[in-house]
Point group: D2
Chain length 328, copies 4
């Protein structure tokens, strides 16, 4: 029965991440491989509502595997949160003959997809695309590995100047709800301390840790801070606090910001995107719906979308201990 | 009993790989964390024979986490293959009070370590450091992820010129016995065909595949070839063969060579190195010997060294299929 | 009179180089700025013969300033060497209303342009695009600066592994007639010796230099060799020769090849391309013909095409001395 | 007379910049080449006051040509601004037998050197090391070219996400007094508008320019802003102002900060550093004092230090026009 699907739509939604283009390419070519038509939907759910569609053959995705961003563009759509908006979207899909959707995005995008699925019984498969790695059901979201490399490369540069001047740097990285980037890039960059949303280090322990670092003979220090850390001060307030309490330190702040979302994807993200795209399309052809494809124990597996949304991707507590030992 | 170990030696051996320095740093700092002395042994087993040792405190490994190569240098030692050589090595270790060894290297290095262990009952823990990813007991060897990124970045550049001239490129990458680099970097770089030691594509299928690629409207083609592929011709002979049989192609060859071993390690390799180093030292303190530490299902696990050496790290057959679909 | 020109064609020809796209973008947008139409000609002179043209508005060149290769493709055209071919080309240009040409390429491309100009009195302005920097009338050709960075980055990686193993590497870089890349990248990469077409170091002096390097306590050595060096042996023969005469050395060879032509252009090449494109179009509007635009003393200047072709871009002899001092 | 100099000191001072290590290496090796002793002075003038010196032979600068930062460290010294401080410094230099100084830094560092020279008639040669390119007497300061590449690479990444979301980004780059980085990197990154200290664009023209850009069909816009721009609002106030006046825009801000000072130097900066170091030492040996070595018309030339300090490095006005045309 499910084999009768003849046309699949693909869209990217939410914050873009490196590897989204590689995933689009994979979805498009897997469709071509199975002689299914593929429709690219521009600007996420908003483009669905506006009927901003384009047929995509296998050559339309040449030379995009290594490009950051998303050729299908992304947008947040308030209109899709209304019944009216979703009705328009559905009617556009029907008119275009699209029978199933691959949604590349984060949990907000999946939530929208789930609502749509429930209203219209429309088959949806999600591909986790976000640099934050905060989705349950996959050890790696698309773009996360690339973002880690971007962050450590930038901190390597900051370390050059920190070492030359014996300075302390606070580097803020992305991660409102999850400390994956801060924790892994912090270890990778040899940070002296790491602040993440998952635990509140506390101001006292931060000062203590910086004193220890100074005493141990280190000439410079980097503290990596996730946006959503729980220390109770933003990064600029933190600078003031530390300078007040440790006048021997000349603190500099660097907020990495949006550059973390861009850039050519790493090989890991390109291969992962290729695998996820194949699995997403073939799951649809197998009659599956409301699943997310993800990487678990180095295999591509399905997780129910609801679980992916409600679950929480835990940080690896072992890494906190590794980070601690590394600052000896 | 095992807790009485007070001094650990660390060495790098065989071909160097990015992440070796990060692993040395981790071993040194984990020793310091546990109040164990750490001795760096230069130039692998050869330095062991020559007593080329140096005490390493936690500050001696500052600012090396992001450096390619190995500050302890590496060498192949013929002398260590002799009983005489190993005797000298053991006597140097004894004189220096070294009671256990962490060996960072590939299967050749582990084999040497195993022989040494059997003769002198000397505790050894291996850390898999090689770009080839050809070691059983870990899904990723140190340096493999970095090498993949190096290769796709170079092929991205070659693709620029290939596309501009509608050319066919044969790109030879490392991998005498294992096609991991070729297969993954080939998919990551969007290669039209991939030749690996694990299977013989055959000359006819190569030509057929290139014809298909041409017919599909692709303006350029990249074929990624592992050193140890089984097609029966070296890369330059292959160029001649293809040009004879498909005169419409102007084939260029690029042999990537040693650059694949160098460069700043990726964040993945830095974090992996940090985790492996901690586990290696703590396994010794737990009384373990003759194990390799490795990454299995995203956890650091022990595998008996003998198994690591004799086993074979299989390529992921699913990736062959993904590669096939991607060239649609 | 010259102000009556209403349509300009632009093409890329010969080997591609980073910055060609930035130059195309600049030509297209400068045309738009002056309300001139711009026609892109695909695949160089061959596309001119085949009438492979496309109108290019300012938005057609969005997001290409940072892309390697050339979106107009390049090709070598035997047909354009014939009168018949050039006749077809001229008739296509006339039919399309193209009244002047901007040719982005090397001296081969300029020579073709000059012949065409003489036969048809067709206004031509050249933009020097080649990584070799071998064109008279500009201190920098487009792509040269990028290629230098590519080469030093690769040699930095090779240095990692060379240092780890105390090895000697021969690295062959592009440059059949000119040693600019080898000389500058050699100094930039800290090479112990540099072989260029402009002077024959001689086998004896090479050996002597390597001995000196060994004696001075260097643990590894890199020799950078231009393709067109005059030492009388290719790089593999040279390896054999040195290993025979200095058995203490284990020599490795790396031929960098086509990757040197690709990659995102450096900021220098992007700015230079932007400046050259403006000057090329405005020179045509000023009634100029048969000139090359180039960078001289940090200003964009015109050089007669004939002079650019016949002249020879000299290496800076001072650099040979700097290189010598640096290997102290 | 001047030939009697037997020992030269070298220091880095002020903000660090990529290429400082390459310059140190060049000074050290040029000294060795001429059989002069070389003394490294740590932490700039402060280390001079504290006698923090180290003899540097040619092997002490192995493998630093490609490292960012400065192995001699840098610091700002208030003490050196006092007579007392300079007296200590001079007495330390005398005790160590140092007879001349090479000062690598910006105009603040040169001013300090000049005062010292006047008080003690101590020969000083300056090497311009700062990313800002704001020194008279050289078309390029050390680190400037590298910083430009760092900035365009980061903006390339930001462009990925800007294009995917049709957003407007304000990117603040370094340059308190000089717009060289903003102007060149802005053109290189294809910025829609560039704000520099050298001219006040005005808020109205900025809005007009953004409207024009929107109308022209551009899907995203990048505005590059030098720290010291004259528009009268800081980058965050500017965001608010634009969002108020152009509610169709969702503006994001990125302040690049200190990463611009770090990283491996470009080939250009490495070669320039090598040339400047040779000339600095040989100028001392020629009896010169109180000069800065710089690049003028592709040659290394001397400029009196006073002139270098008082003069002002002008931006190239032609580039403003090129930038304007490029945004057509």
């Amino acid at each position: 029965m499910s084999k009768t699907i003849k046309k699949i739509g693909v869209l990217t939604s939410g914050g873009d991440s490196p590897g989204m283009n590689a995933a689009i390419r994979s979805v498009v070519r897997t469709c071509a491989y199975h002689n299914i038509e593929c429709i690219g939907i521009y600007r996420g759910y908003q483009g669905m509502i506006e009927g901003d569609f384009k047929e995509m053959g296998p050559r339309s995705v040449n030379n995009i595997i290594n490009k950051g961003g998303t050729i299908l563009k992304s947008a947040r759509s308030k209109e899709f949160m209304t019944e009216e908006g979703r009705k328009k979207a559905h009617s556009n899909l029907s008119a275009a003959g699209v029978e199933a959707l691959v949604v590349i995005g984060g949990d907000g995008s999946f939530t929208g997809g789930l609502v749509f699925n429930k209203e219209y019984d429309f088959p949806i498969i999600g591909i986790p695309g976000t640099i934050d790695n905060d989705i349950y059901g996959t050890t790696h979201t698309l773009g996360y590995d690339t973002a880690l490399n971007t962050v450590v490369e930038v901190i390597d540069k900051i370390r050059d100047t920190a070492s030359s001047h014996n300075r302390l740097f606070f580097v803020e990285v992305m991660g409102r709800d999850a400390g994956h980037i801060a924790l892994n890039a912090g270890i990778g960059a040899g940070a002296e301390e790491i602040l993440i949303p998952e635990e509140d280090l506390g101001l006292d322990r931060l000062l203590e840790s910086l004193r220890k670092s100074k005493l141990s003979g280190k000439s410079s220090s980097i503290v990596v801070i996730a946006e959503g850390d729980k220390i109770g001060k933003n990064v600029f307030e933190l600078k003031d606090y530390v300078e007040e309490n440790m006048p021997e330190y000349d603190v500099r702040v660097s907020v990495l910001g949006h550059m973390q979302r861009g850039g050519a994807p790493s090989c890991f993200d390109r291969v992962l995107a290729s695998r996820l795209g194949v699995k997403a399309v073939e799951s649809i052809l197998d009659g599956k719906s409301n699943y997310m494809v993800g990487l678990l124990n180095d295999k591509i597996e399905l997780t129910p979308l609801e679980q992916a949304i409600k679950g929480h991707s835990q940080i690896d507590r072992e890494l906190l201990r590794v980070s601690d030992i590394m600052t000896t």
